[in-house]
């Protein structure tokens, strides 16, 4: 312990002696790589790894394409998808989720996915009358809908592993809008903002 302390003291002494003679680094170098380049490099490495893990596996940057989520989300809007949102609990009604189209297995992120709002939970029956959504025959309050809708449909029962998802823009005819029952394992995350 004493030896270590002495070594440390000597090291400090040497540094202070050296620094007395070495001119201070150029201000541009200090700005760009800091006073301790090794520490700066380490910080950059940690930052890169953290960003890679975060934006690859946790928060996926996405670009919304299309008008099916108007007016909540505009075409070409940038957002993030939280892939860990449903680790502790299951998707809730009103959540805006991403539904993958291809194989549901694996950690790989899909290139394209649907962005829809959950209105029907497993075991429930969803139907539309006069443009309003009904869950098990009860009118669903949807304050986020701003565009007119005139959908009239038959009831769609969801199985215990299915969620009914639909966009917020229901102004187009029912057949032109991509919506329906999504399997739980196809729901990959919840939109962040």
């Amino acid at each position: 312990m004493i030896v270590c302390w002495q070594l440390s003291a000597g090291f400090r002494f040497n540094i202070s002696v050296q620094s007395a003679h070495v001119p201070p680094p150029h201000w541009l170098r200090v700005v760009l790589i800091g006073r301790r380049p090794k520490a700066t490099l380490m910080r950059i490495a940690v930052l890169v790894v953290t960003c890679f893990i975060t934006f690859r596996f946790v928060l996926l940057p996405i670009r919304i394409e299309g008008i099916s989520m108007l007016p909540t989300y505009q075409d070409h809007q940038i957002n993030c998808l939280n892939r860990l949102a449903y680790l502790r609990h299951e998707p809730q009604r009103g959540d805006i989720v991403s539904v993958r189209l291809s194989d549901a297995h694996g950690l790989a992120n899909p290139s394209v996915a649907y962005l829809k709002r959950i209105i029907g939970l497993p075991g429930e029956t969803v139907s539309f009358h006069a443009g309003h959504a009904f869950i098990n025959g009860q009118l669903l309050d949807e304050p986020y809908l701003k565009l007119p809708c005139d959908w009239e449909t038959k009831p769609f029962p969801c199985s215990p592993k299915q969620y009914y998802v639909v966009g917020d823009n229901r102004s187009m005819p029912f057949s032109f809008h991509t919506k329906g029952r999504a399997e739980r394992d196809h729901i990959i995350g919840k939109i962040l903002l």
């Binding site: 299309g66 539904v99 993958r100 189209l101 291809s102 194989d103 297995h105 694996g106 790989a108 899909p110 290139s111 394209v112 649907y114 829809k116 299915q162 998802v165 032109f176 991509t178 919506k179 329906g180 029952r181 999504a182 196809h186």
Partner: protein, 165 residues
Amino acid sequence: MKTAFRLVLLAAIAALGFWLWTVLFPGPEKIIRQKIARLAATTTVDAHDSNLTRAVKVGNLIGAFAVAAEISCDVPELGSRTLSGRDEIRDTARAVLAGLTTLKVEFLDVTIHLGADKSTAEVSCTVRVDTGDKRDYGVQEMRFQLKKMDGDWLITRAETVKTLS
């Protein structure tokens, strides 16, 4: 130092050898992946493509399918349609490519499941079609069934899948 250099050199040679092996003798998954990529390239036509180029593309497209292949498509706004056999596929492909100025087809997120006998495979992917006009065909889930026939992987069935039922 010499030993370390030799070890690094050996590892580099081994890696190069492995890479060459995969290039010269690709596994079935890689072959199928290339096949699907070629299929997308074949079905993609540009406005500058001549009729001859389009005819060649139709020929190449047909070559990817088995004689008794079946295509089952449910296209938004156009409804569902089933094509059976190479002749029907050829006629439809000719008509579609002749009627469109541009057509861009992409197969994304391709996953391949090889059968236990290694002579059949199922491919799941997302297809994105852009015809250059204002029609929006969106994206759709798609599945292919392939079979190895005379050393070549041929599509026996292609179908669109409804992700949202």
